[in-house]
């Protein structure tokens, strides 16, 4: 029994060594080039929709349809996310039990920094999103983490996005093979078909933006996260980037990951990086 176990262990570790030896070659063969990817990604949308102003893509379906855009602009006078924004502002200013605040956890006191998230943390070797950083801030200060998908988390990110409105998305990929791997992994997740419907993220949001599924207009992938978090009439409430990913997966009958799973963090990294230069527009409102 023991011999068999060690044999198995040997086989597994041999496989792991073989994988470790071959995988860098695979990456090298692919020649990951995020700069070229972002350029190609943006040009695809600019050419597909020559009449849409570049900074307008961050307004999702409203950039695709003039009637919808007019209705939305009227709605923006009393936006449905306003209550969340006000709540977020108050929460942000309220000290934790230990007297510290969110401002103590972020550069520039957390104001006007949303465009730098997610970032690659070289100490951790992983992507850190704004939602993740907010919960880590809470936990570091002895507070319980919030649900990632709505309510308080949506309010806090709504306020932080609001302080960054108009600032161009500015995601960096440091000179670290792990950062490049995270970008490539997010890209792979984005283009891979999955679930009973056999959809990829790209099928709807690259191949078909502007098209309708029944009455709903599909948003372009370019700048889709710049508007987060969003008030969705369909949800009758606010939702975060995490909520968007989880519901996209479940609506297409794929198995959703846990919010802030590594793959979701990577796909957020990929999607945000290819939207570099486009303004933050969150919090947003969507049908």
């Amino acid at each position: 029994m023991k011999a068999r176990f060690s044999l198995l262990l040997g086989a597994v570790s041999a496989a792991l060594v073989a994988f470790a030896l071959t995988s860098p070659h695979v990456v090298a063969a692919d020649k990951a080039d995020p700069v070229a990817d972002a350029k190609a990604f943006q040009n695809f949308f600019f050419q597909k929709f020559p009449n849409v102003k570049h900074e307008d893509f961050v307004n999702g379906p409203y950039s695709m349809n003039d009637d919808m855009k007019r209705q939305w602009q009227e709605k923006e006078e009393f936006p449905p996310y306003e209550f969340a924004l006000d709540a977020g502002k108050e929460m942000f200013a309220t000290p934790f039990k230990n007297g510290k605040t969110y401002a103590d956890c972020f550069p520039n006191g957390g104001i006007g920094i949303r465009q730098n998230y997610p970032y690659f943390d070289e100490k951790e070797g992983k992507v850190v999103t704004l939602e993740l950083a907010l919960n880590r801030c809470r936990e570091a200060n002895g507070e319980a983490p919030y649900s990632y998908v709505k309510d308080e988390m949506a309010s806090l990110t709504a306020y932080m996005a609001f302080t960054s409105r108009g600032k161009p998305m500015d995601i960096k990929i440091p000179d670290d093979p792990r950062a490049l791997a995270a970008f490539e992994n997010g890209k792979r997740y984005f283009y891979t078909r999955r679930g009973q419907m056999n959809f990829s993220c790209a099928g709807c949001h690259v191949q078909s933006p502007g098209e309708r599924i029944r009455a709903e207009t599909l948003a372009p992938a370019l700048g889709i996260l710049n508007a987060m978090p969003i008030y969705r009439s369909e949800w009758s409430g606010m939702g975060t980037t995490s909520r968007r990913f989880v519901t996209c997966n479940s609506q297409t009958r794929a198995v959703p990951l846990e919010p802030q799973a590594d793959e979701y963090r990577d796909v957020e990294y990929f999607l945000s990086y290819v939207a570099n230069g486009l303004p933050i527009s969150g919090p947003g409102a969507r049908p």
Binding site: M197, N198, G203, Q207, S208, E211, R212, R214
Partner: protein, 141 residues
């Protein structure tokens, strides 16, 4: 006359079904007879069945949890259609062989790897019977 035709096989089936099975030998004879009678009954009922298959097919094609064809295709009789796929009309002229339509619904990625269309048969979103009913409906468009 139709009454006789309808009732004869049905009562025959009923008789067979209620006859006590005494030994294996008679049971062996009964089975093919039963199938024959069922086949006759099915043949007689076919116009009505085809009609209900078309109605079922339309229901499945519009049902969000089933075929949900309307989400992507314009279909006569359906409100708020989507725009991703082509309008579904003149399909009998376009696909005289119903097997072609069946194959598209079963797994369109075989013909077109880039398609958005879910592989309804391969991924068991619809059963074979459900696909067949939808094909019946599509052929009326």
């Amino acid at each position: 006359m139709p009454f006789v035709l309808w009732n004869a096989p049905i009562s025959a089936i009923a008789t067979i079904a209620t006859t006590p099975r005494n030994d294996a030998l008679t049971a062996l004879f009964r089975i093919p007879v039963l199938f024959l009678l069922l086949a006759i009954a099915a043949g007689l009922a076919s116009p009505a069945r085809a009609q209900s298959a078309v109605a079922d097919g339309q229901k499945l094609a519009f049902d969000r949890g089933k075929g949900n064809c309307l989400t992507c295709h314009v279909i006569k009789g359906g409100d708020l259609p989507g725009t991703i796929g082509p309008e579904l009309k003149d399909l009998k002229a376009k696909y005289p062989d119903r097997n072609e339509l069946t194959a598209i619904i079963f797994d369109e990625t075989k013909r077109n790897p880039q398609t958005m269309m879910p592989p309804f048969g391969r991924n068991r979103i619809l059963t074979e019977q459900e696909i067949s009913a939808i094909v019946d409906f599509l052929q009326t468009l």
